[in-house]
Amino acid sequence: MAILVIAEHDQVSLKGATLNTVTAAVEIARRSDAEVHLLVAGHNAGSAAQAAACIAGVTKVLHADAEPYAHGLAENIAAAVLAVAGHYSHILFPATAAGKNVAPRVAARLDVAQISEITRIIDVDTFERPIYAGNLIATVQSSDAIKLITVRSTGFDAAAQGGSAPIELVAVTSGSGASIFVSSEIARNERPELTAARVVVSGGRAMGSSAQFDAVLAPLADRLGAALGASRAAVDAGYAPNDWQVGQTGKIVAPALYIACGISGAIQHLAGMKDSQVIVAINKDPEAPIFGVADYGLEADLFVAVPELIRTLV
């Protein structure tokens, strides 16, 4: 039996989390001597399929191309997965907003339990996954014939390039029609994606306003080629957009360098960034809990320290 990874893409290129999911699939495949296939379901998604074929470890790309797959509607993408699901022992989705939206539909139709957000593979049927916002780790074992899994990207490295898998066009399913895509507002910016960035610069309530975010933190992010993040308090106060939120109810990140500016370090925020390689905290409150997890703590007013940091980095 082979292992299937569902690629996340924008029709043109693959989203980074796909690569981490492939790594998890390859790890399972190594234990069961299986192949790893990748499904690209999209519309005019030929270049995404080409990119998928170049991932090391992938032995075949299934390309389902039809209009109903254009906007990633859960009903239609789930149908595309179900059309091929019977051939696989494991089906893996990235644990992104898109993956989480579709995977449980497939699990329900297959009448199997879903194992959400795995961070480690113990065996072909046994996995570790965080519960209670990462405060605890559960080791769970599945007895279902098909293991339906979402993969937390911070738990696995990105798969390398260098593959040359064949691309096979597969039969497509029709759209449900009950669900219609209306519009999307995806913020366009030159910065890397928050969950895939090597460096993340994050601001808390101490930023004081969205203007200060732009004036103080954005130049530091630009200097470091970093993504911008925010604490829940900063997002709730309207200083930063919702999708910048790092934490239990936002994004889970694990960059090489995380710089927390004016973030106190509530449990809910720590849950989203504590697996970062190096954590820097800049905060004027010496008692801030963020210092308890920071590799380097700087007790200072961020409005003085951050501009100085930018100047020093020249």
């Binding site: 989480k100 449980p104 699990a107 507002e185 460096v199």
Partner: protein, 249 residues
């Protein structure tokens, strides 16, 4: 239009969960339990739709132990009209809960089902999507705005990188994200009123649903603890450490 809302009883979000001494699971004895925060948002949204005259009745359901009645009473104090408890002592996993809710969808025939996007205990984020698939209903998950008009729901969803808007035909399943609304505080008069509302108790057997868990939890443990590093005196030292010690810039 009737709205069905499901709520889960979980460890209060302010309480740090403790392990059982044998590492077999989380100790729930003498721990403060509350309604899952995302489910509170689901109830609030249903009540607002009713207040705007777009819903006629709100039925709230919970699956689990007898104490879930307290959670259901809270939901009725926020504004649900009646409650159903599907009572069982079996550990319920999302697949089983979705099957129970599907049975209720067939019985109650709601025009809209609203659920929290995930429970803050098992962090699964599955039940709403599973229910939608089983009951063959369209889904709009992670909602930050819901507008009902002309037999459809226009739902703004929080996705990676921004927002997306879908139009789904009713009946549909909607799951709530954090910023859909801010739930109201329950008032004493409403708590008293909620005590008089109807709370029906069913069982999985009566609904013909097999709730046997499919996943076995082998153990639960604490994650490796991150230790505090050093405090640096100034920006220059910080940059030096990042460059020469951590080598990340």
């Amino acid at each position: 239009m009737k709205i069905l809302v499901s709520v889960k009883r979980v460890i209060d979000y302010n309480v740090k969960p403790r392990l059982k001494s044998d590492g077999s699971g989380v100790d729930l004895a003498n721990v403060k339990m509350s309604m899952n925060p995302f489910d509170e948002i689901a109830i609030e949204e249903a009540v607002r739709l009713k207040e705007r005259g777009q819903a006629t009745e709100i039925v709230v359901v919970s699956c689990g132990v007898v104490q879930c009645q307290e959670t259901l009473r809270t939901a009725m104090a926020i504004g649900a009209d009646r409650a159903i408890l599907i009572e069982t002592t079996v550990e319920l996993q999302p697949l089983a809960v979705a099957k129970l809710l599907k049975a209720l969808v067939y019985r109650e025939q709601p025009g809209l089902v609203i659920l929290g996007k995930q429970a803050i205990d098992d962090d699964c984020n599955q039940t709403g999507q599973m229910l939608a698939a089983m009951a063959d209903l369209p889904q709009a998950t992670f909602a930050s705005k819901v507008v009902i008009a002309d037999g459809r729901a226009l739902v703004t969803r929080e996705v990676d990188g921004g927002l997306e808007t879908l139009s789904v035909s009713l009946p549909a399943v909607v799951t709530t994200d954090l910023r859909l609304n801010e739930p109201r505080y329950v008032t004493l008069p409403n708590i008293m009123k909620a005590k008089k509302k109807v709370l029906e108790v069913l069982t999985p057997e009566a609904l013909g649903v097999d709730v046997t868990p499919r996943l076995k939890t082998l153990k639960v443990s604490e994650p490796p603890r991150r230790s505090a590093g050093v405090k640096v005196p100034d920006v220059a030292t910080l940059v030096d450490k990042l460059r020469n010690e951590a080598k990340v810039i």
